[in-house]
């Protein structure tokens, strides 16, 4: 009976091993399809998107020719650091960035997925904030006076939501805006008033040309003003110049200026949740661009392509073969030293490897070079655990006692490794989190699997 149980367990291990390493082929639409999920490989093993950007030559749409004085190493470095900040704010988990200090060319390598194109947009998008005079394009307030940008929303009693962006000014910016408010129409309402009165002024000018008498009246008004009479306030408003706020070259209406904050509405008031989400996304995008810093030079994309890794399938296969041979030799040592117990532990080890490979695939862990290191480490730890277990079994005959002792000894020693794995699991960097996740699943599987399978096999053998 015990022999049948052992045979059943071994056959189950063989089946799982075949499924894990050879696949499970089922006929789908007249062809055999492997239903077992494949591994997800990281950028170093599979490939990634490579984007080369260069200083804009001013010939494209919306581009300005760069001032030769701005083409310095320091500015190239600023652009590179800004790009890195944007990628970090976007939560990009794996990238490489390189700068050619001579030409200013920057190369960014990213993992290829559904949102890579969005990341690439942010790489060259301008987030420069400017307040400038409409007619003369004179800069009145620049990026350096913006401390921070936040976005939020409010709702009105009817339940409509308005998303807005708030630019927090520095002390210098605050003083500047107070000064500008007197001479410039900045708020949307003011701008509308000035624009509305402008056609009236034009009409007055043209009617003055036709009717010189009116011109006299105007002169009389001016003389009255000079005489100290109170001027017409509407006329004073109309003499204010218009200031336009632009972010990344796009104009936005200023809704409110309160203390050191400028508020800009993004989209209109709406109850439609899709529109609200779109407005929030647009506001978040602007906030990200503004908060990550300004580009002193404009850049454009030179090339944007997917490039496969230089690590070939052949190289991976050679590596797998080497590891397989090492594992095979180690298991032979186990069998030679511990005979039947060694053989059972070896079978169990093979089953462990098979289940581990399935867990890695089905928990969507991305395998990086560090992840491969974690796999090897787990296999080594599991081997040592089994080795120690079998060693103790020679001295202590009861399997339960052996398991308890070995587990206590091994896992207590592994607590620092568990701490390291957990910390790496939560690392933002994809390669480290790959290591952490694989270590975590490996340690959990090791704890559970050896209790269920290895212990059962050895116990059945013991009580034969």
């Amino acid at each position: 009976m015990k022999k049948v149980k052992i045979t059943t367990i071994i056959l189950a291990i063989i089946l799982i091993t075949l499924i894990a390493f050879a696949g499970l082929y089922i006929k789908t639409q007249n062809r055999m399809e492997d239903k077992v999920k494949s591994y997800e490989l990281g950028r170093a093993l599979y490939g990634g998107r490579v984007v080369d950007i260069k200083v804009a030559d001013g010939e494209g749409d919306g581009e300005t020719k760069p001032n030769p004085e701005t083409l310095t190493e320091e500015n190239y470095e600023t652009v590179k650091n800004t790009i890195e900040k944007r990628l970090e704010n976007l939560g990009v988990q794996d990238y490489t960035i390189s700068l050619d200090k001579t030409s200013g060319k920057i190369r960014i390598e990213l993992t290829e997925d559904e949102i890579t194109d969005d990341y690439i947009y942010y790489i060259t998008a301008l987030g420069n904030v400017q307040l400038k005079e409409k007619d003369t394009e004179t800069e009145l307030l620049s990026d350096s006076m913006i401390k921070e940008c936040v976005y939020s929303y409010y709702s009105n009693p009817e339940g409509a939501y308005q998303v807005y962006l708030e630019l927090e000014l520095t002390k210098e910016g605050q003083a500047k805006i107070e000064e500008l408010k007197n001479n410039y129409a900045i708020l949307a309402e003011e701008v509308q008033e000035v624009e509305a009165s402008q056609p009236e002024e034009d009409e007055e000018e043209s009617s003055e040309e036709e009717n010189p008498e009116n011109q006299e009246e105007t002169d009389n008004v001016e003389n009255a003003e000079a005489g100290g009479e109170e001027p017409n306030t509407e006329n004073q408003e109309n003499t204010k110049k218009i200031a336009e706020l632009t972010i990344g070259g796009n104009q936005y209406e200023v809704q409110k200026i309160e203390k050191n904050k400028i508020r800009i509405n993004i989209g209109g008031e709406t109850t439609n949740s899709s529109s609200i989400n779109n407005n929030i996304a647009a506001a978040a995008e602007l906030a990200l661009l503004i908060n990550s810093g300004k580009y002193p030079i404009q850049y454009e994309i030179e090339s944007n392509r997917f490039i496969y890794s230089d690590i070939t399938n052949k190289q991976i296969l050679y590596f797998v073969i080497i590891v397989a041979v090492l594992i095979f030799i180690s298991l032979i040592v186990l069998i030679i030293k511990y005979k039947i117990n060694g053989l059972l532990a070896s079978m169990s080890f093979i089953g462990f490897m098979a289940i581990f490979s399935l867990i890695i695939r089905y928990t969507n862990v991305v395998i990086s070079i560090e992840g491969i290191g974690a796999i090897l480490l787990i296999l080594a730890i599991n081997y040592v655990l089994n080795y120690v277990l079998l060693g103790k079994l020679r001295i202590i005959n009861t399997i339960n006692e052996v398991i308890t002792n070995t587990y206590k000894e091994t896992f207590l020693k592994l607590i620092p490794v568990i701490i390291i794995s957990l910390v790496f699991c939560f690392a933002r960097w994809a390669n480290l989190s790959s290591f952490g996740m694989i270590m975590f699943w490996g340690l959990v599987l090791m704890a559970v699997y050896n209790i269920i399978v290895t212990k059962t096999l050895l116990k059945l053998r013991e009580s034969k």
Binding site: A44, G47, T96, I97, S98, L99, D100, S103, K105, I106, R107, R305, F306, I307, Y308, S309, D310, T312, K314, I369, E370, I372, G373, L377, K413, L414, I415, P416, V417, I419, I420, V423, F424, A427, R428, W429, N431, L432, F435
Partner: protein
């Protein structure tokens, strides 16, 4: 007594290796893998799916073993070859040899040699710093709590010293042997980190 002598000799050898490593790094710096170095590249649009092995053989023949061959885009109909330097003659040779295996329009004259920028070592590895520090601090706290009976200062000292010496030794060996640092280096560093921590645990358990 014999064990003590072995310990002293081992420490002395490690110290010498670390000092030599520091000297090497100050003079020569680390040797970077080709993918992170400033290098030159050519791109050949082959118009057919490329057999990377064949192209690699051609590249090895013309440029020597130190080169990288990568296929571009999903159809793998373009190949990117990188090497430390590529002369005009080498470029022409490569294009002509590839033309012997594939039919495509691009000629050696159409092919330009591009310069690929270098990646700074700090840019390669700065993302690893914070997780290492956090895990180091947590492991330190754990060790201090678990083995406080052995003397907190002794335990903390060991927990800091052993991994630091281990990493310095590893990096020194890499610098002295001019092993290129790149995508495989973090694995070695993490492995050394874990091995040294386990060594500290075993030493504490022994006592």
């Amino acid at each position: 007594m014999k064990q003590k002598n072995i310990k002293i000799i081992t420490l002395a050898v490690m110290a010498i290796v670390i000092i030599i490593g520091i000297v090497f790094v100050s003079i020569y710096g680390f040797n970077k893998e080709l993918r992170f170095k400033q290098c030159q590249s050519i791109e050949i649009y082959v118009e057919n799916k490329v057999d990377k092995t064949k192209i690699k053989e051609i590249a090895n023949e013309v440029l020597g073993k130190k080169n990288i061959v990568q296929t571009v885009e999903i159809y793998e109909d373009m190949v990117l070859i990188k090497a430390e330097t590529i002369t005009e003659e080498q470029k022409n040779n490569i294009v002509n040899k590839v033309k012997e295996n594939y039919e495509f329009e691009q000629t050696a004259e159409d092919t330009t040699i591009n310069t690929m920028p270098t990646t700074r070592i700090r840019d390669m590895y700065k993302q690893y710093t914070l997780p290492f520090i956090i895990s180091g601090v947590l492991v330190l706290i754990y060790m201090a709590i678990r083995y406080y009976k052995k003397g907190i200062l002794k335990v903390i000292g060991r927990t800091i010293l052993f991994p630091v010496i281990g990493e310095l030794l590893l990096l020194s060996i890499i610098a002295i042997a001019r092993i290129p640092i790149g995508i495989f280096t973090p694995v070695l560093v993490i492995a050394m980190y874990i091995v040294t921590i386990l060594f500290v645990v075993i030493e504490n358990e022994k006592e």
